[in-house]
C-alpha cells in the first residue's frame, strides 16, 4: 500500500485552491499569527460580528479572529495595536448592552474556541477555565463532584464565562451566592499592550490593590481574560422550588420585600408578569397559571430542616400578601421546567413581537411596587408592550419592551421609554445596570449617576490599563471616543437601537 498515501498527497496537491494574495497589511499580519482559517474578513463575518444578543447597534466589525491560546490572543492584540487599530473581545455574543458591539471596524477577538476546562481541583474547590467555556458546560462537567459554578445568568446555556467576567454577570441565584466577581479568584489577562499578567490569586487575595476586582466587570476595556480561575460552590444538601401566583403584581412584589424583611434569604426570588407567563408556558410546560397577574418563583436551599421551616414561613407571608396558590415542585423534573420557563423568557418574546429591548436597572427592594407601577405607566403612555421578568430579590428589574422594528416611529418611543425607566430607577435610589453592563447602550446615562469627577476618576483607571485607548473603545464611559457611525445618523449620541 505504498501508492495509497502518495496518490492521496498528489490528488491533495491538485485539489488545493489557488489562494488570493492578501492586500490589507493588518490582515496579512493577523494571518501570519493565526493562519488563514482563523482570520475572517468576509462581508458575512463582518456583518454577523457587528451585533450581540440585543438590538444595540454600533458600527461594523473589522477583521474577525479566532485565537485558541493565550499566546495567540496576545499576538492578535499586539498586531492590532501596532497597526493603531482598536480591538474588541467577544464571547458567544449573548450580551444585552452592546459591550461586544464594534465601533469603527475594530479587530474582533473571538474567544469561543478557547473552550477548554484546564483544571478542576475538587479539594480546593476551584477550576481554571478558558474564557470560551459555556457557563452551563462547567456545571455539567462538575456533575458528580458535588460542586457547581454559582453564577447562573438566564443565558447560561449559551453565554461564556469570559463574557460573565466582562459584565460581572448575575443570575437568579446571585441573591444568595453573589455575582460573578465573588466567584472569580484570579484571571490571566492579556493587557491592551499585549503583556500577559495574572490578577488575583488562587488562595486568599493577592497582595496590594485588588486589580482582579477592578478587572471583573471591565467589559473588555481593561484587557482580555484568557484563563479564569473560578471558585466552585458546594451543591446544597436540599433544594426546594416554590411557585406562588398572584392576582396583582404588587402582591408578588410586596411578598418579596416581606420575605427579606422576615430575615429569610432564599437562593432566588424571581417575578414574572402575565405576558411573560403567556409567552413561555407553551414552550416550557411549567404549569404557570395563565390567568395570574404575576408568579413568584422562590428557591430555598440549605439543610433539610431549615428549608422545611422556610417553606412554611414563605407560605404564610405569601398568603398574607394575596398569593392564590403556593406550589412546591414535587421533583427535579418540575423544578427544571419552572426554571426553564424563567430562563427562556427573553428568547420567547417572538411569540408576541419580533424585537425586544431588554432593560436592566436596579432599585431598592423596598420600592419595587411603586417603581413597577411607574414602569407600566411609562409604557402605556407610549403605547408599547412591556413584559416584566426580573430578579426581584435583588431589586434587579428587567423590563422587556417588545416591538416590531418595522413599524415606523416605534424605535423612538422604545428609546424614550428605556431612558425614562433608567431615570425612574436612578431617582428611586437605584443604579444603571444590575448585570448586563453599560456597554454602548447605557454609557449616555452614566452622567445620571456619576459626577464629572467620578467619571474622570474611572477614566484614569481605564487609562492606567489602556494607555493607547484601543481596548474596546467607545464603551462604558461617555468620555471615550464616540461611535462615529451612529452619531452621523443624528439619533442618540452613542449607541442606538435599530
Amino acid at each position: 500500500m505504498v501508492i495509497s498515501p502518495l496518490t492521496r498527497s498528489l490528488l491533495g496537491r491538485l485539489a488545493v485552491r489557488r489562494v488570493d494574495p492578501i492586500t490589507d497589511p493588518l490582515e496579512r499580519d493577523l494571518v501570519e499569527v493565526l493562519g488563514r482559517g482563523r482570520v475572517e474578513a468576509g462581508i458575512g463575518a463582518q456583518s454577523l460580528y457587528s451585533h450581540d444578543g440585543s438590538v444595540t447597534r454600533g458600527g461594523r466589525a473589522g477583521i474577525v479572529c479566532f485565537p485558541e491560546s493565550t499566546a495567540e490572543v496576545a499576538a492578535c492584540v499586539s498586531v492590532s495595536v501596532s497597526h493603531g487599530r482598536p480591538f474588541v473581545p467577544r464571547g458567544a455574543g449573548t450580551g444585552l448592552s452592546g459591550g461586544a458591539v464594534p465601533c469603527d471596524e475594530p479587530v474582533m477577538v473571538v474567544t469561543t474556541r478557547m473552550d477548554v476546562i484546564h483544571e478542576v481541583d475538587v479539594e480546593r474547590r476551584l477550576a481554571w477555565v478558558g474564557p470560551g467555556v459555556v457557563n452551563l458546560d462547567l456545571s455539567r462537567h462538575l456533575e458528580g463532584t458535588g460542586l457547581h459554578f454559582a453564577p447562573d445568568p438566564s443565558s447560561q446555556q449559551a453565554c461564556t464565562i469570559g463574557g460573565n467576567v466582562a459584565t460581572n454577570s448575575g443570575g437568579p441565584h446571585c441573591l444568595l451566592y453573589g455575582v460573578t466577581s465573588a466567584h472569580v479568584l484570579a484571571v490571566e489577562v492579556v493587557l491592551p499592550d499585549g503583556e500577559v499578567v495574572i490578577l488575583g490569586a488562587e488562595e486568599g487575595r493577592a497582595a496590594g490593590y485588588d486589580l482582579r476586582g477592578a478587572f471583573v466587570g471591565g467589559e473588555g476595556t481593561l484587557g482580555i481574560a484568557t484563563r479564569i480561575c473560578v471558585r466552585l460552590t458546594e451543591d446544597p444538601p436540599e433544594v426546594a422550588t416554590l411557585l406562588l401566583d398572584f392576582d396583582r403584581v404588587a402582591g408578588a412584589a410586596d411578598t418579596v420585600s416581606a420575605v427579606i424583611a422576615a430575615g429569610i434569604v432564599p437562593a432566588a426570588l424571581e417575578i414574572m408578569d402575565q405576558r411573560v407567563i403567556e409567552a413561555v408556558e407553551p414552550f416550557a410546560h411549567a404549569g404557570y397559571p395563565l390567568d395570574a397577574a404575576a408568579v413568584l418563583i422562590v428557591e430555598l436551599d440549605g439543610l433539610p430542616a431549615g428549608v422545611a421551616t422556610a417553606i412554611d414561613r414563605i407560605e404564610v407571608i405569601g398568603t398574607a400578601h394575596g398569593a392564590r396558590t403556593v406550589r412546591v415542585a414535587a421533583d427535579e423534573d418540575e423544578r427544571t421546567r419552572i426554571w426553564k420557563g424563567r430562563k427562556s423568557a427573553f428568547g420567547a418574546i417572538a411569540v408576541i413581537k419580533p424585537d425586544y429591548y431588554l432593560n436592566d436597572t436596579v432599585i431598592p427592594r423596598t420600592r419595587l411596587t411603586e417603581v413597577l407601577s411607574r414602569v407600566y405607566e411609562v409604557i402605556e403612555e407610549r403605547d408599547l408592550i412591556v413584559m416584566n421578568v426580573f430578579h426581584a430579590g435583588d431589586g434587579n428589574l428587567h423590563p422587556l419592551i417588545v416591538f416590531d422594528a418595522r413599524e415606523p416611529g416605534v424605535m423612538e418611543r422604545v428609546l424614550e421609554a428605556g431612558e425614562e425607566i433608567v431615570r425612574i430607577s436612578v431617582e428611586a435610589g437605584g443604579v444603571l445596570s444590575g448585570e448586563h453592563g453599560i456597554g454602548l447602550e447605557k454609557k449616555r446615562f452614566m452622567s445620571m449617576q456619576f459626577s464629572p469627577a467620578d467619571l474622570e476618576a474611572q477614566d484614569r483607571l481605564r487609562r492606567a490599563f489602556d494607555v493607547e485607548g484601543l481596548a474596546n473603545p467607545a464603551k462604558v464611559l461617555p468620555s471615550g471616543a464616540s461611535c462615529g457611525h451612529v452619531t452621523s445618523l443624528g439619533r442618540a449620541p452613542d449607541g442606538t437601537w435599530v
Binding site: L48, D137, G347
Partner: protein
C-alpha cells in the same frame, strides 16, 4: 418573489438571542457565528431584506448546516428554522448545482438495482483492501463490512426484494419501509425489524424496490423536484390504509413530511399513517408479550441510547426507543442533550471535516457514558448515524437488533409453545 422565497414572518421571528448556539453542532465545533442558526438566519435576512448578493462565504454558511433541527427544539420563540433552511437550500440549488459527487450519489439512490450492483462491487473492493485507495471521506462513509449480496431475510413468506403485492390470504398488517441505501447496506436491520414484528404476531410486507427511496437526501440537498418525484412514487405504490413503519429516523421524518412537501390531501393522508417503528411498537402494546430479560436469563445488557436528530428533533418520538427497549436492557443516557453527531444524511460525505469534529464530541460523550456505566454498545435508530459512529470505532446497533436478540432469547427460553416459534422458521 424574494430572492430566496422565504416566509417573511418566519424570518422575522428570530430575536437573535443566541440560545440556539450550543445546540448547533457546527457552531459547537467552530465557535463561528456563520456556522450557527442565528448567524444563518441573519445572513438569510441580509439577502432577503438588504439586497446582499450571495457570495462564497454566504453559500458556505448555508452548505454547512446539517439540518439536524436541534436549534428548533431549543428555540423559545419557535422559529421555524427547518422551513427556512429547507427553502434556502432549494434557492441555493438553483443558484449553483450541488457538488457532482453528491448528485451522482443521489442519482444512484433512485435506482435500487444499480445501488445493489454498486454495493456488491464496493464490497468486493473492500474485501480486496482496494477501498483504501479511495478518498478517505468516501471510505469512512461506508459500513466497515459491506454485504456482498443480500441475505435471504424475509417474514411471512415474502421473498427478498419483494414488491408490494398482496400475498395470498389476509393482506399483511403493516408495511415495512425498506428505502434505498439502508436496504443495500444494512439489510440486517430490516431483517431484525421483521423478526420482532413477526414474533409478536404482526404480519409484514416490505415496501421493496418499487417504492424505493424516500427522497429525504434529495430534499436536504435542495433538489425539490426530485424529492417530490420520489414522494409521489412512494405514495402511489404504498396504497391502502395500512400503517407504514419506518426503521430509519431520517426516512421516517421525510415520509411524515410528505403532506407539507406535496400539499395534497392524498399526501397528507399518507403521512398520517407513517410511524417510526419504535413509535408504533410502543403504542401497539403487543411487544410486552415477549418475556423480558430477567435475572433468570443472566445479567441484563446495558446500552447507550443515541437519539438521531430526525427522531428527537424532527419527529419528537425518541421517547419510544426507550419505552420499547427498557423491558429488555438497561438504558444509559448521554449528557449532551441530543447534540447532533454530524452524520446528517449525506453531510458526512460533503462536509467531512465538520462532520468528523461533531462526531468527536459525540464519541467523547459516549466515552463519558461508558466510564459512568460500563456500557459500550450504542443504539441508534438511524442508519446514517450508525454508519458515521461506527466509522469512529463505536459498536452501534439498531434498537430493532437489540429487540430481535430478546426475541431469540425468548425462543430458546420458552420452547416450542412460546411466541418465538414463528421466528424459528424464518430465522437466519
Amino acid at each position: 418573489m424574494t430572492p430566496l422565497g422565504l416566509d417573511d414572518e418566519s424570518l422575522a421571528a428570530c430575536v437573535q438571542c443566541g440560545l440556539c448556539l450550543p445546540h448547533c453542532p457546527t457552531y459547537r465545533v467552530t465557535g463561528d457565528e456563520r456556522r450557527s442558526p442565528r448567524g444563518r438566519i441573519s445572513l438569510m435576512r441580509a439577502v432577503e431584506w438588504e439586497g446582499m448578493t450571495p457570495d462564497r462565504e454566504w453559500l458556505d454558511a448555508m452548505d454547512t448546516c446539517v439540518q439536524c433541527l436541534g436549534c428548533v427544539t431549543a428555540c423559545p420563540s419557535g422559529v421555524p428554522y427547518g422551513d427556512l433552511i429547507a427553502t434556502t437550500r432549494v434557492a441555493v440549488a438553483q443558484l449553483r448545482r450541488p457538488p457532482l459527487k453528491l448528485r451522482a450519489g443521489l442519482w444512484c439512490l433512485g435506482r435500487p438495482g444499480l445501488l445493489r450492483w454498486v454495493t456488491t462491487a464496493l464490497a468486493i473492493l473492500q474485501r480486496l483492501g482496494l477501498l483504501r485507495l479511495a478518498p478517505r471521506t468516501m471510505a469512512a462513509a461506508l459500513p466497515a463490512r459491506l454485504p456482498l449480496r443480500r441475505p435471504r431475510l424475509s417474514a411471512a413468506g415474502c421473498p427478498p426484494r419483494s414488491e408490494v403485492a398482496p400475498a395470498a390470504g389476509d393482506p399483511p398488517e403493516v408495511v415495512l419501509f425498506t428505502g434505498c441505501v439502508m436496504d443495500a447496506w444494512q439489510p440486517e436491520v430490516h431483517g431484525a425489524a421483521e423478526e420482532v414484528l413477526t414474533a409478536i404476531g404482526v404480519t409484514v410486507e416490505r415496501s421493496g424496490d418499487r417504492a424505493g427511496c424516500c427522497g429525504a437526501l434529495h430534499g436536504h440537498a435542495g433538489l425539490e423536484s426530485e424529492a417530490r418525484r420520489h414522494a409521489e412514487r412512494v405514495i402511489s405504490v404504498l396504497t391502502g390504509d395500512r400503517p407504514v413503519l419506518v426503521d430509519s429516523a431520517g426516512c421516517g421524518a421525510a415520509l411524515k413530511d410528505y403532506g407539507t412537501l406535496l400539499q395534497t390531501p392524498e399526501a397528507r393522508a399518507f403521512a398520517d399513517r407513517v410511524y417510526d417503528i419504535q413509535e408504533w411498537l410502543a403504542a401497539d402494546g403487543r411487544l410486552v408479550t415477549l418475556p423480558s430479560a430477567g435475572p433468570e436469563n443472566g445479567p441484563r445488557e446495558s446500552v447507550i441510547v443515541q437519539d438521531p436528530c430526525h427522531l428527537r428533533h424532527a419527529q419528537g418520538c425518541h421517547g419510544a426507543v426507550r419505552n420499547v427497549l427498557a423491558p429488555y436492557v438497561d438504558l444509559v443516557e448521554l449528557d449532551d442533550e441530543g447534540l447532533c453527531c454530524g452524520a446528517g444524511g449525506a453531510f458526512s460525505l460533503v462536509q467531512p471535516g465538520l462532520a468528523g469534529d461533531a462526531r468527536d464530541r459525540k464519541v467523547a460523550a459516549v466515552a463519558r457514558a461508558t466510564s459512568r456505566s460500563g456500557a459500550t454498545t450504542v443504539v441508534s435508530a438511524n442508519p446514517g448515524c450508525a454508519l458515521h459512529l461506527a466509522a469512529a470505532g463505536l459498536h452501534v446497533r439498531h434498537p430493532m437488533e437489540v429487540l430481535a436478540d430478546a426475541c431469540r432469547r425468548s425462543e430458546t427460553d420458552s420452547g416450542p409453545e412460546g411466541e418465538g416459534n414463528e421466528v424459528s422458521e424464518h430465522g437466519r
